[in-house]
């Protein structure tokens, strides 16, 4: 078996993992599975693409950094896109999810997220059409790493970015007061209020982190593969599977779950064929649900 699947798997895994962090945080803090999370990804990517377009309209053509396929405009655009996606998530929460949450039926919120997902995605199709598009059409030369493994400069940069983001989120969750408040809220919401945690504030932070990371995951897909309105929706099952495999509420779990699914997908692509890729998450999901529904790092819900 060609070892290339390790690089491919780690890349796919980071995309899934970054998305799954948002899914797992929303689930553990707001207690619902957000089916619109994939569409946050797509919206973030298109927003980033739009900003890149705006920058190049203002500054003309900017040469790429080193041997990467992109220059500073994409980095600036990514930051703007992250902020945009965070705000989009906040807005959707304000007009839809928060209101339904107050009615007290968690599963209605899930359904609303399904409806919102459809609406968001179709809106993208309407604005940008369903034709795939790209950040750059330049073809990168992959560098050999030995053992028949090759990697492009973009891939290295994005793996590093993903690693930095994952470590940062982990530090925020464990070392800051906001992160501890998020943990507290996910473990016992009533007690968290009793000790003075403002739930509304923590909820806002959760959306912003989840949205921003979804945007990064989407842009990774956009750089390495392509940009389509369906790009996020297609990631939904792997993200859910990763969050459940890692254990709901666990950030390291979501990332590890993402990497496992990414590697499994990449090896399945080699062994069986790319067309069956999407079944991998489902099989892993079913195994987890039957064998250990709390996942790798999860805990029993009270």
């Amino acid at each position: 078996m060609n070892l290339q699947f390790v690089v491919d798997g780690l890349l796919t895994g980071s995309m899934i993992g970054l998305g799954a962090i948002g899914v797992t945080l929303t689930y553990s803090i707001l207690r619902f599975s957000n089916f619109a999370h994939g569409d946050f990804m797509a919206w973030g990517t298109y927003a980033t693409l739009a900003v890149v377009g705006a920058i190049s309209a203002m500054f003309g053509k900017v040469s790429p950094i080193g041997s990467l396929s992109f220059g500073w405009p994409l980095i600036v655009a990514l930051v703007v896109g992250m902020a945009f996606t965070g705000l989009l998530a906040l807005l959707l929460d304000m007009v839809l999810f928060a209101r339904l949450r107050r009615q007290g039926q968690a599963i209605i919120v899930v359904m609303a997220s399904f409806g919102a997902s459809m609406a968001l995605r179709s809106l993208l199709e309407f604005i940008f059409t369903s034709r795939p598009t790209y950040f750059s059409r330049a073809i990168q030369i992959a560098m050999p790493l030995g053992f028949g493994v090759r990697i492009t400069p973009d891939q290295i940069a994005l793996l590093l970015l993903a690693a930095v983001l994952v470590v940062s989120v982990h530090l925020i969750m464990t070392r800051t007061q906001t992160g501890r408040a998020m943990q507290a809220l996910s473990q016992n919401a009533a007690l968290a209020r009793v000790i003075g945690i403002d739930v509304a504030k923590v909820v806002r932070v959760t959306w912003i982190i989840g949205g921003a990371l979804a945007c990064v995951a989407g842009v990774m897909i956009g750089i390495l593969i392509q940009i389509r309105p369906f790009m996020g929706f297609d990631m939904l099952l792997p993200m859910f599977a990763a969050a459940i495999l890692g254990g709901i509420g666990s950030v390291p779990g979501a990332v590890l779950g993402g990497l496992i699914i990414g590697l499994a997908e990449a090896s399945a692509v080699q062994l069986i064929g790319a067309e069956w890729r999407a079944a991998v998450s489902f099989i892993i999901l079913m195994v987890v649900l039957f064998v250990r529904p709390i996942g790798l790092f999860g805990f029993r819900e009270r």
Partner: protein, 255 residues
Amino acid sequence: MSEPVLAVRDLEAGYEPGVPIVRGASITVNKGEIVVVLGPNGAGKSSLIKAVAGLVPISRGAVLFDGKDITAAPAHTMVHRGLAFVPQTENVFPLMSVEDNLKVACGILKSRESPARIAEIYATFPDLERQRKTAAGNLSGGQRQMLAVARALIVHPKVLVLDEPSAGLSPKFVAMVFEMLSAIRKSGVTILLVEQNAKAALAIGDRAYVLVEGKERHEGVAAELWNDPVVAELYLGQRPKSAGKAVPFGKGSAA
């Protein structure tokens, strides 16, 4: 000693609208006191103090704290005002370490005050310092209770409200918890306490109320209440109403 710091006036509260569990209860807690709320199971003791803490919706009446109306204030604002609540069960964050359980409660302190405050808490509760890295879910019942109380104290509350702190503990720990509460009162914190363990609670309390069917029916000095036949009658409460004629508790009930 007789300045009221917490006053509950004619409170009606419950989880579902139209189904009050607390039905017109009034109690007063004076500065520096330990006040105990007793009562049979299902009397609404727990709901009463949860309503005070902002966790159970209030449909009528008022809660005054330090002279200010805090009726229906959001639960998370209570510690800012100086009212700390310790729930009966699930009162620690099980997956967080002892130290993180303390730190997370420091949210309302200035961030540079927190380390010193945690050090003070450790000085008072050396057991907790020894276990600082342990996940709270792995502590024994008594230690968990200690952690919950320590975490409530961290923000220098004026009033500490506890829901059955001795529930589910072995006798050794029960004694420990009540000693701890005595010591806390001596340090100047006013305490409002709901208890099933009437004997131990009355032993450390100043005054007590007996709550029956969501309303206080009797009030008195804690030390005297233990031998009060009215309390026995109300507290044992299971007896059919017709059998209660012998005791004129109407006279004894608090106005």
